[in-house]
């Protein structure tokens, strides 16, 4: 039952991506009729970070990267603050500061996302070259422009994560000569066990990608031929552009140290509440429960951001209306799930890839697919699935690989309950 609610100070949403939008939707769906004040440092509608690589690769138009229309956002009746990024959140006084003003709030949802980092990239000697990164629409715009430049023929991607591989795909879509360098022995860092990664690597090589695994960029200098790279193995290569995907950092610099519990991000409970009962966090800034380990971890995926945002919004609406937050609102945690297809080679994973003492790995190979299962022996002597990888040589929507992936994901989730 919805209850109309208002409160003197607005509910603030800091950051307006997936988590922020879903928080706003949930607030309204749950009957909150007060002011929702949104702080966003982007001038466009909220975009989908998942689609940025498709835009850079020419598979999606610019407009297609924005999942919500002006009408849909307008319907949420938001008060959007347009005077610069948030510089400080003061939980004690319930005040948010920007460069140009201060704003009170009753409840605040921090949903500021993450920023790609170039940790370990040595930079270019005597040059201000900034490597390409991929997260925001601005990043995608820059990447697209670079890849479409007729003088760009050779792309080096540093990193072997999902973002790196999607960048690689964008390069392949522009018919560039692509090289990937990764510090680990295999691609799909932390998401794949070797058996699945090897099949994926085979698919990449078949598409003409040069893989330089187990090494890193040691130095870069600009020459007349391009960016001359020396790798840690001593090998060298020359590239026109370098993209770096070495990880993400949660955007929490505006949080005063000690004002909220921070680990790698803001630590939250099952209602997305931080250590301050009036500050919530969702998305890439939130460290909620990872169901398999039971530990607080960032699960930086779209679905998690959406569910966490919705959870925070509903919980706040209930609290402000004086009603008990229902059990159904609770988000007990999540598991990591990833799906990536690079020019037809498909990889799906879920759960953990930590092969600890009480876990066993089983590999099933078929003509077109490798499935890796990670089972855990429980204290009751039962065997539960805690992780899997699927690598399939073809990406067929609605195909067997997707069906098996969904089935195994559900099985892992069921085992966590």
């Amino acid at each position: 039952m919805k209850q109309a609610t208002t409160t003197s100070a607005p509910v603030a949403i800091v950051g307006f991506g997936t988590a922020g939008v879903n928080a706003a939707i949930a607030l309204r769906n749950s009957g909150y009729e007060g002011v929702i004040r949104v702080f966003s440092n982007i001038e466009t509608l909220p975009y989908s970070p998942i689609l940025t690589s498709y835009y850079a690769g020419g598979e999606k138009s610019y407009d297609e990267c924005f999942p919500w229309s002006y009408d849909e956002i307008a319907e949420l009746n938001l008060d959007v603050v347009e005077d610069g990024p948030v510089t400080k959140l003061d939980p004690a006084d319930h005040v948010i500061s920007t460069a140009n003003g201060t704003y009170e709030y009753s409840k605040c949802i921090v949903a500021t996302g993450a920023t790609p980092m170039c940790w370990g990239f040595p930079g270019v000697d005597n040059d201000d070259y900034q490597p390409l990164v991929l997260r925001s629409m601005d990043d995608a715009e820059r990447l697209k422009t670079a890849l479409e430049n007729p003088s760009c023929k050779r792309l080096l991607v540093s990193g072997a994560s999902m973002v790196a591989l999607k960048t690689l795909e964008a390069g392949l879509n522009h018919n560039l000569e692509c090289t990937l360098v990764g510090i680990n022995p295999h691609v799909l860092d932390f998401n794949a066990l070797p058996e699945a990664a090897i099949r994926f690597e085979k698919g990449l090589r078949a598409k003409g990608v040069t893989l330089k695994l187990g090494q890193k960029i040691e130095s870069v200098i600009r020459t007349d031929e391009g960016l001359a790279v020396t790798f840690s193995t001593g090998e060298t290569g020359v590239y026109d552009e370098i993209s770096v995907a070495h990880g993400m950092k949660s955007n929490i610099d505006f949080i005063e140290p000690g004002s909220l519990e921070v680990d790698r991000a803001l630590v939250v409970d099952e209602f997305m509440r931080t250590s301050d009962p009036d500050v919530y966090a969702a998305g890439d800034v939130a460290q909620g429960t990872e169901l398999i380990s039971g530990e607080k971890r960032i699960v930086g995926i779209w679905k998690n951001a959406a569910l966490q945002g919705a959870c925070a919004g509903q919980a706040i609406a209930c609290e402000l209306s004086g009603t008990e937050v229902p059990e159904s609102c609770k988000l007990p945690g999540s598991i990591s799930t990833n799906t990536i297809a690079v020019n037809g080679t498909l990889f799906i994973s879920a759960g953990t890839m930590d092969v600890t003492e009480n876990r066993t790995v089983e590999v099933r190979e078929s003509e077109d697919m490798t499935v890796v299962y990670i089972f855990e022996e429980t204290q009751r002597g039962e065997r539960r699935l805690v992780g899997f990888n699927i690598t399939c040589d073809h990406d067929e929507p609605g195909g067997r690989a997707y069906d098996i992936g969904a089935m195994l994901t559900l099985r892992i989730e069921a085992g966590c309950r």
Binding site: S48, P67, S69, P397, G405, A414
Partner: protein
């Protein structure tokens, strides 16, 4: 409430959809509609936005053939959800869209008049009545000519509509086995209401399941044994909602755990398992393989809907046949197609009658028990009952 009953669901769903478009390629219906799942939610909201009354919403939706295709053409197979990188819950979305379609009068009566399974007469009860199929002697928790009401049953057996109607001897043989493995079993031969949900009568489907739950509670049973994964899913939810503490177990699991083994050897040649799309996490498939004594990784398994889901046949009859064909085409010549859900068995049998293939179509219980479905008889009786002495009555009941 606004003009659409389920607007909140559409807003929630549209928040969770990236609009990446992967779902579209996974589904013939979405391809035909050229829509993503997010588009469905957004189109429903767009129809409501600025409309003055429900007539205007109805007109707007009726003019949107893409939207109608996407909502009515859904089998609830979750192929799109499986392909969705975020695994967004399509069934929840489409069920709600069907509710609004029903409220707005956008689902024609002939699409659901014969499957109102919470009424006295539906296609299954009519078939059973006309052909003298009943289980009063086995419904021990209900007082009837055979016995007093008994409330000390420990197992309730739920065969589901298709098995109870079209395989009476098989149903009885299974009941006997279930009964023999416990102190006392009883029969719940009602429907789980999936056809009501497909038609947009969600509340009625839930009420029907809750009635079933009340009967199960009345019987004293602590375990509900379901043949079909769809029935099991719906009954689990209803029992939890009603606070009835009964464990829901698949028939395969129930029999397997108690040492029951198939009465005859598995057929020779290739076994192709048709996973029920209601068996979302494959638990039922694994349990079925276990009781049949086969390794779940050995036989061919085909996923997706048999063609019966979502009452699509009432919207576009040819789609059921196409879907059944697409699934059966995975089975090589001479193979035995083994279904988990009796309605899948029925659907394949119906398709094979008009488009024969060199495959054998069996429900897994047929591989375990002596009695078999006689589809020639069933289809002859189903067709014949619309003529002769019951024809006029049926026509008037289902008009």
């Amino acid at each position: 409430m606004g003009l659409l009953q389920c607007a909140d669901t559409y807003r929630t769903f549209s928040g969770q959809c990236t609009e990446c478009g992967h779902c579209t390629g996974a589904c013939e219906s979405l391809i035909a509609a050229n829509m993503t799942l997010g588009d469905i939610a957004k189109s429903m909201l767009a129809a409501e936005r600025g409309a003055h009354d429900t007539d205007e919403v109805r007109t707007r939706i009726a003019q949107n053939q893409q939207l109608i295709q996407a909502v009515r053409g859904c089998f609830f197979c979750t192929s799109c959800k499986n392909t969705c990188f975020a695994h967004n819950d399509v069934c929840d979305l489409i069920y709600h869209a069907r509710i609004d379609f029903q409220n707005l009068g956008l689902i024609e009566r002939e699409a659901w008049s014969s499957v109102l399974v919470d009424q006295e007469w539906d296609i299954f009860t009519a078939y059973r009545a006309i052909h003298g199929i009943g289980y009063a002697d086995l419904t021990r928790h209900v007082q009837n000519d055979h016995h007093e009401a008994q409330h000390d049953c420990d197992v309730a057996f739920f065969p589901g509509c298709s098995l109870a109607a079209y395989g009476p001897e098989l149903t009885r043989e299974i009941f006997e086995a279930v009964d023999g493995l416990c102190d006392k079993a009883t029969m719940i031969d009602h429907c789980c209401g999936s056809s009501l949900k497909s038609a947009g009568f969600f509340d009625r489907a839930e009420a029907l399941c809750e009635n079933n739950a009340a009967e199960i509670a009345q019987s004293g049973a602590k375990t509900l044994v379901c043949v079909c994964p769809g029935c099991a899913n719906d009954m689990k939810v209803a029992l939890a909602r009603k606070g009835v503490e009964v464990e829901v177990e698949s028939l395969a699991s129930y029999l397997g755990k108690r040492g029951f083994t198939p009465k005859h050897p598995m057929p020779e040649g290739t076994l192709c398992l048709s996973k029920s799309c209601q068996d979302r996490d494959g638990t039922y498939l694994r349990e079925t393989c276990a009781v049949l004594g086969i390794d779940p990784d050995t036989p061919s398994i085909f996923h997706g809907c048999c063609g019966a889901g979502g009452a699509v046949s009432a919207f576009k009859p040819e789609r059921q046949a196409q879907q059944a064909d697409s699934k059966l085409s995975f089975a090589p010549d001479g193979a035995t197609v083994v279904t988990m859900c009796p309605t899948c068995t029925y659907t394949y049998a119906y398709r094979l009658m008009s488009a024969p293939r060199n495959v054998v179509n069996k429900h897994y219980t047929e591989l375990m028990f002596d009695n078999q479905f006689d589809w020639n008889l069933v289809f002859a009786q189903l067709g014949g009952m619309w003529y002769g002495e019951y024809g006029a009555w049926l026509a008037s009941v289902f008009a």
